[in-house]
Symmetry: C2
Subunit: 227 residues, 2 copies
């Protein structure tokens, strides 16, 4: 190869890489974290759509663009991958009412319960895999559900109970038990915003893609849960 | 064999079969229907627990006590077996409000909506596979969900809408949209009574079997849906 041609190629390579030159090289730990995130993204989709038993680790590896053996290096078992995925999904769970002072007036109670309803609806809209993974385990029952409830749900429920009780004492929510309120609240919102395929199939025109059927406005659900 | 011994055996056989002698022999069609019912019983359990993708036709055949090939004689494909199972599950869906005259007073409207809530809760309690199979498809979305909605849900929803509208006009249900009411009503009741493993895991003492955690009284849910 003659010198001018070589210089030309060198110049081209420099110009091609100039934009990225300033970025520091990705460390091994960063690369590993990025790959882990890519695997979990693929796992979210697969577990949410097919349930634990129906999900295929091979399909998750393929969606993440790696060999199944390489996936096994990051997550030793299907169960370990499922647990890591649940942890990532619940990391964004709203903590809107945690640590707030208990409401003292009807208006405060109504405002704080509105906030809880709104933030759970937003979360289910942005992260539908939450509802889909929880419903899948709730249909199966068993040890995975116990793990999920123990790790991610029980303490959040405990946070909401005194807020609900205070709101009920002030007449801001229906006069019912915390159990009935919580189960209905979770189910109604998770089903309406997290499992959008169902409302779309029932209320949308036939064969319309889910995204084109407008979601039920949250205010219409709030009418059931606030007084 | 001497004659007295033979007569004795004949007499014993007669006494053993006397109770069943009156029954006509089972015809081939009856035997086939009984086996079909046994297969569908096993399929209900398997599809409800594991979802369509997770369910194993081999496991269903084993639970029904037959060879997988023999199951294939009755149901050509997994999808055909799933459809037949959904049809059997929905055969018991309550038709309590279908064909009733529209309520004209607040009291009538409240009574008919109470009936709808009660009968759906009873159905979800007696046939939890309904809720589990619908939720499993609602998490996946897609063509099976469309089939299920078209075949079993859309016409029932159409029956309930005028009843809800009349009840709302008379102030017997919350002033919200039919969509919001129906989605919340289905989700709250199906989740609370059909997916009992979830309430049991959240509200029961740790490691308690589902059957030992008392269900939420239906009156506590009715407080959310009636006025």
């Amino acid at each position: 190869m003659s010198r001018p041609v070589f210089d030309d190629i060198q110049a081209k390579l420099r110009s091609l890489t100039r934009g990225t030159r300033a970025l520091p090289p990705q460390s091994r730990a960063e690369k590993s974290a990025a790959l882990r995130a890519r695997i979990i993204d693929a796992a979210k989709e697969e577990f949410a759509a097919k349930g634990y038993d129906g999900a295929s680790v091979r399909a998750i590896a393929a969606a993440a663009g790696i060999e199944q053996g390489h996936l096994g290096y990051h997550f030793k078992t299907k169960r370990a991958l499922w647990e890591a995925t649940v942890d990532v999904v619940f990391a964004d769970f709203p903590s809107s009412v945690a640590g707030m002072p208990l409401p003292r007036t009807y208006e405060d109670a109504r405002a704080v319960m509105r906030l809880a309803l709104h933030s759970y609806a937003d979360y289910c809209t942005v992260c539908p895999e939450h509802a889909r993974m929880v419903f899948n385990e709730a249909t199966s029952g068993g040890e995975r559900l116990e793990w999920l409830v123990e790790r991610h749900i029980r303490s959040r429920v405990a946070t909401l109970e005194p807020v609900f009780n205070a709101a009920r004492d002030r007449g801001a929510v229906p006069a019912t038990s915390f159990e009935a309120f919580l189960l209905s609240f979770l189910a109604a919102i998770a089903f309406t915003y997290g499992l959008r395929a169902f409302p779309a199939a029932v209320f949308g025109p036939a064969k319309t893609p889910v995204e084109e059927v407008p979601p039920v406005p949250i205010e219409e659900l709030i009418a059931l849960f606030l007084r």
